[in-house]
């Protein structure tokens, strides 16, 4: 079965690693950081305008892939809700010794509550693990795109990207 974003709608790890939106392994170790999973050259640049630290560069033409400057990115997460493609995530790999924090845009109701245990899924929506909801952020600037952060076992920091829609059977 052929793979890749054009076939499955999901970028492969190779496709992700080939983009300038993914920071180095060393940067993941340090602190929270934005993970831009934008692998196709589409005409779009709100992420660049969103970043208060100038850490995301799209430039001209606006079909350029967003380039993240891993030293400038503070992991603030302002860019997440500004991406029309809902393709930016915030990851803190070393949230605790054994867990990571993953934050993702979530445009469904009902919203989870902080402290809830929720089934967390990957890019294909399939169940991966239980996660604890850390924060549910909703401000006017985010214009209806809620950000949900979950605490999950560290091994899933590059895999968990959503809450399972169908309750997530194990």
């Amino acid at each position: 079965m052929a793979d890749g974003v054009k076939i499955t709608g999901i970028p492969t790890m190779e496709e992700l690693k080939a983009t300038p939106g993914l920071v180095s392994d060393q940067r993941f170790e340090k602190s929270a950081v934005a993970v831009i999973e934008c692998v196709q050259e589409i005409p779009c640049n709100p992420c660049e305008k969103a970043c208060p630290f100038g850490a995301i560069i799209v430039g001209s033409p606006i079909t350029n892939l967003p380039v993240i400057d891993e030293d400038k990115c503070t992991g603030c997460g302002v860019c997440l809700a500004q991406c029309p493609g809902l393709a930016i995530f915030r990851v803190e790999k070393n949230y605790t010794d054994s867990t990571s924090m993953v934050e993702f845009p979530f445009e469904y109701l009902p919203l989870p509550q902080e402290g809830d245990t929720v089934p967390c899924g990957g890019r294909n929506g399939q169940y991966l693990t239980e996660g604890k909801v850390l924060k549910v952020k909703k401000t006017k600037q985010m214009d209806g795109t809620t950000l949900v952060s979950v605490e999950v076992p560290k091994q899933y920091f590059m895999d968990v990207r959503t809450i399972c829609r169908k309750g997530g059977s194990k």
Binding site: I7, T8, G9, I10, N45, P84, R123
Partner: protein, 367 residues
């Protein structure tokens, strides 16, 4: 008979943008739309738009619609609603636009006329395609986002262009389950990031598949999918039956060109842009002097380019009406072209750029 400087047929993104440019230049403009509300398809676009800040990227479609409407109001643009235009006639003073309003045929002459009629969804025929529950994706989108009615609980989407992907996502947001998205081509047509949203929601995407038939007594009950080979022929033995109550069709758009045919415009055939398209020049003017086209009628693309084409046609019409000098118009048009070209780059935009370039070349060839 009433006469104004410009009449615009269609009050969607292209028509409204065109009216704004003409009104800004000081022209008297009337927009005529067959619907009860202006805005075209913008008010059912609940997702954030792509593009750059100049294209209002990151703003949801209905908010862009609200902004456009406010601008037209502030500028005093007259918008006639519930007024289907049924004919165009040449007139010594310009072009006569005939329409129905309040149960009466009426007419208005525009020195310049801009057609911004948009496009209609393509249909697909298969056994069961006339069963209730089979509908256009745009129709389903109107139901959920404008009328707040969920067409069904279990949906099969056909077509992986951005319309199919976006409407699938919005159906899921509205509470439906999208059981599968099928695409006859071997790869996904629309943006990967749109596909990614429905994949995260658990919807599988089957490329190289189509609907073989839909079964049901009085409405859709079962949908049979089948895999296709590289020549788009069904592969026997690959059939798969799913229980569903709704089938949405998102297999492209065809420009609504009746009025352009009626006016005697010359056409060219560009499948990528939806089929037969009125030939137009860089000012969006057709082969009929004083008649312009903008938006999907000039080649089906999307709302952001439709707005830019609308602006272009509006500026050009204003120039032709001598509301702008050639110098002023040139500068304004250049700005629009810069923004429009930005939308037509990259692996998705380049083909449309090439198709439009081919169209403009046809116009210059001046048959």
């Amino acid at each position: 008979m009433r006469k104004v400087q410009a009449v615009i047929v269609g009050g969607g993104p292209a028509g409204l943008a065109a009216s704004i440019e003409i009104a800004k230049a000081g022209g008297k403009v009337v927009v005529i739309d067959e619907n009860g509300k202006p805005g075209g398809q913008l008010f059912k676009q609940i997702h954030k738009f792509f593009g750059s800040r100049e294209h209002r990227a990151g703003v949801r479609g209905y908010d862009i619609g609200t902004q456009l409407l406010k601008e037209t109001e502030d500028l005093g643009v007259e918008v006639l609603l519930d007024a289907p235009v049924y004919g165009l006639f040449r007139d010594p003073a310009g072009i006569m636009v005939s329409y129905m309003k309040d149960g009466r045929e009426q007419a208005i002459i525009g020195e310049k006329v801009i057609l911004a009629t948009g496009a209609a969804e393509n249909a697909l025929v298969f056994p069961g395609s006339t069963l209730p529950g089979v509908m256009g994706a745009g129709c389903a989108q109107t139901m959920i986002n404008v009328n707040r009615v969920l067409p069904g609980q279990k949906v099969i989407m056909v077509g992986s262009g951005n319309v199919g992907l976006i409407v699938s996502y919005q159906l899921i947001q509205a509470g439906a389950e999208v059981l599968a998205l099928v695409e006859a081509a071997p790869s996904i047509g629309g943006y990967g990031v749109h596909a990614g949203k429905i994949r995260r929601a658990g919807t599988p995407i089957y490329v190289g598949h189509t609907i073989k038939r839909v079964l049901g007594k009085t409405q859709v009950e079962k949908v049979e999918l089948v895999a296709l080979d590289e020549k788009f022929q069904e592969i026997p033995g690959t059939e798969k039956m799913l229980e569903a109550d709704t089938v949405c069709i998102a297999v492209g758009l065809t420009p609504l060109t009746e009025l352009a045919w009626l006016a005697g415009c010359e056409f060219t055939f560009i499948p990528l842009l939806g089929g037969h398209i009125p030939i137009h020049n860089e000012d969006m003017e057709t082969t009929v002097p004083g008649l312009y086209v903008a938006g999907d009628i000039a080649g089906a693309e999307e709302a952001s380019t439709a707005m830019e084409e609308g602006r272009l046609s509006g500026i050009a019409a204003a120039e032709a009406l001598q509301l702008y000098t050639a110098e002023e118009a040139k500068a304004l048009k250049a700005e629009v072209w810069d923004r429009m070209n930005a939308l037509r780059t990259g692996p998705f935009g380049q083909k449309r750029y090439d198709a439009k370039a081919q169209l403009l070349a046809t116009a210059k060839g001046g048959k």
